[in-house]
């Protein structure tokens, strides 16, 4: 049985990243868009940890960066959700297509 190597992790990371981009482009719900952004963060985390494990096995740089990123993404999600709540108070909905007072 072939073992799971760096390339498998990187392929997974690329797939997750693409799903994130796809979701971000197609989702109409603000929460859905934010979830897609979280997917993109997690794709980067998978790549970081995989590189950390395979490229620099004696160091933990990749893992440390990933740990920091998780914290940053959590903080970002907090701020984003607060703003989505604000949008809901104004628009009674969070459909990103309808939030378009400003154009061009």
């Amino acid at each position: 049985m072939p073992s799971i190597g760096l390339h498998h992790y990187l392929a997974l990371s690329a797939v997750v990243f693409c799903i994130g981009i796809y979701g971000m482009l197609t989702r109409r719900n603000a929460i859905g868009v934010l979830m897609s952004v979280e997917l993109m963060f997690n794709a980067a985390n998978i790549a970081l940890v995989a590189f950390g494990r395979f490229v620099t096995p004696q160091l933990v740089t990749g893992q440390v960066v990933a740990a920091f990123t998780i914290a940053v993404a959590a903080a970002e999600a907090t701020v984003a959700l607060a703003i989505v709540l604000l949008i809901y108070q104004h628009h009674r909905g969070i459909d990103v297509d309808r939030i378009n007072i400003m154009k061009w």
Binding site: A44, V65, A80, L86
Partner: protein, 492 residues
């Protein structure tokens, strides 16, 4: 495990002192804001101003007394850091002064406004000094996190909320893209330290005689991440909406301080870390710079809202700044730094004029600037001066800035880019001059006179001094930043 070295410990913390100072006082301002039942309009603003002045003095002092890297080479306080820290703090000071009126009209959360500005400024200062990708990434996040909230600060305004949402979503996407690029860069080089990345990239090039596709991909991702941050075309789509919807002092803050910090980080990442990959990114930067100048200037013509027009004009300005980046030498770095300085005063000044105008009239429409020269001769004169500096007319700093940038590009053999720059400057002159013509040669009747508040006058005078001083006596300053650029490129 080495023994604890007290001298080293002190040296490290001395280098990061300006950030610590600003951070502690930011927390103090935030705490004060939550404790006070009813915040008097001026109190937190006064605190914030003294804090920033303190940080400015500390930064100068650290710049004079300490030098070099700290925390295992993740953080550096070199000449370039001094230059950009002063620019960022200058932007923060002008923002704080020009916010006084805006904050006074807020009903709640007055203190938090300044607290967030200060926290964001801490992030920007860290960004200027970061020489390691994780430190840089955290600094970028710290600076934008506060800005997301500040963009949506007018809770009652739909536009402000919309600006906040657009900024937080696109900011999040850009930060994820940047992080993905960072991950690949780390995977290819095995390190996150910029100096080590430089050597590793050189090794990759030497051993394979080129770059693997993954390297190009990583470069594109990192460049896209920076592009969002700098509102560089084609990653500028968030800028006009956020600039229009956000409270105007925050717009000014976004367009000046945040961009100055990002430019310093750009210089460190691209001129030092990815220097050996220059042949892979120079063409990309040249294309993006040309696109920025064209898209920004052409779209600015049709705008009817002054904040949107300035947003597109700043997209173009970033294009001009990056013209200096194709040179990749001392002159390029010097031109970029000088342009940032000139841009700080001119753009900040222009936004302060917009604040002064909308404070009295409640309007941001260009049509309402009709006959401003009769309503307030002083304000019209200031505004005209800043617009001329943005265009690049002598004797303003904007002229010299453009001259240096174009000179650097010509020396690097990018004549076509300079021609694009000159042609788009003519377009820029057209829409800036349209505003000036409206102010001085009104059609129809003009309304009552406009008075400018004392704090805004002070901010305007500071900006004017900056625009004229660096336009007329650039010599000593240019020598100083040239020195900084040399040290940056020499890796010292």
């Amino acid at each position: 495990m080495s023994a604890f070295d007290l001298t080293k410990f002190y040296a490290d913390w001395q280098i990061i002192l300006p950030e610590c100072f600003l951070f502690v006082w930011a927390l103090f301002v935030l705490t004060l804001a939550t404790l006070g039942k009813k915040d008097e309009p001026g109190r937190s603003g006064t605190f914030a101003l003294w804090t920033i002045l303190g940080a400015l003095i500390t930064a100068v002092w650290v710049g004079v007394t300490a030098d070099g890297a700290a925390f295992g080479g993740t953080f550096v306080f070199d000449r370039l850091a001094v230059v950009f820290k002063e620019v960022v703090l200058g932007g923060v000071i002008l923002t704080a002064i020009s916010s006084i009126g805006t904050v006074g009209r807020l009903e709640v959360h007055r203190g938090e406004y300044y607290g967030l500005i200060l926290l964001s400024a801490v992030g920007m200062l860290l960004m200027v000094s970061a020489t390691e990708l994780l430190t840089l990434y955290i600094a970028i996040e710290l600076s934008t996190m506060g800005l997301y909230v500040l963009a949506a600060y007018h809770k009652g305004s739909r536009r402000s909320a919309e600006a906040g949402l657009k900024y937080v979503i696109l900011g999040g996407i850009s930060s994820a893209i940047l992080l993905y690029g960072v991950a690949w860069l780390y995977g290819l080089t095995g390190t996150t330290n910029l100096a080590a990345i430089k050597d590793a990239v050189m090794n990759i090039y030497m051993s394979t005689g080129g770059f693997p596709p993954a390297m190009t991909l990583a470069l594109i991702f990192v460049l896209a991440g920076f592009g969002f941050k700098l509102a560089l075309a084609p990653f500028h789509m968030w800028a006009p909406d956020v600039y229009e919807g956000a409270p105007t002092p925050i717009t000014a803050f976004l367009s000046v301080a945040s961009k100055a910090a990002a430019l310093a980080a750009f210089l460190r990442v691209f001129f030092v870390g990815l220097e050996s990959a220059a042949m892979a990114w120079t063409q990309m930067i040249a294309a993006l710079a040309a696109l920025g100048m064209i898209v920004g200037n052409v779209t600015a013509i049709v705008q009817t809202n002054i904040k949107r027009m300035l947003a597109y004009s700043s997209v173009a300005q970033i294009g001009y700044i990056l013209v200096g980046a194709v040179a990749r030498d001392t002159w390029g770095a010097t031109a970029i730094s000088f342009y940032t300085m000139a841009y700080l005063f001119a753009n900040m000044g222009a936004f302060i004029c917009v604040i002064a105008f909308s404070e009295r009239t409640g309007s941001d429409e260009i049509a309402d600037y009709n006959g401003l020269a009769a309503r307030s001769p002083v304000l019209a004169a200031f505004f005209a001066l800043f617009l001329l500096s943005l265009t690049g007319i002598p004797p303003t700093a904007g002229f010299l800035a453009k001259y240096y940038v174009f000179l650097a590009a010509v020396n690097a053999g990018y004549l076509w880019l300079v021609i694009v720059g000159l042609l788009t400057s003519v377009i820029a002159l057209y829409y800036y001059a349209t505003v000036i013509r409206k102010m001085y040669f009104p059609s129809g009747e003009t309304a009552s006179t406009i008075t400018v508040s004392k704090s805004l006058t002070l901010a305007l005078v500071i900006s004017t001094i900056g625009v004229l001083f660096f336009g007329v006596f650039p010599g000593p300053f240019v020598g100083w930043i040239q020195n900084a650029a040399q040290m940056l490129l020499a890796g010292k």
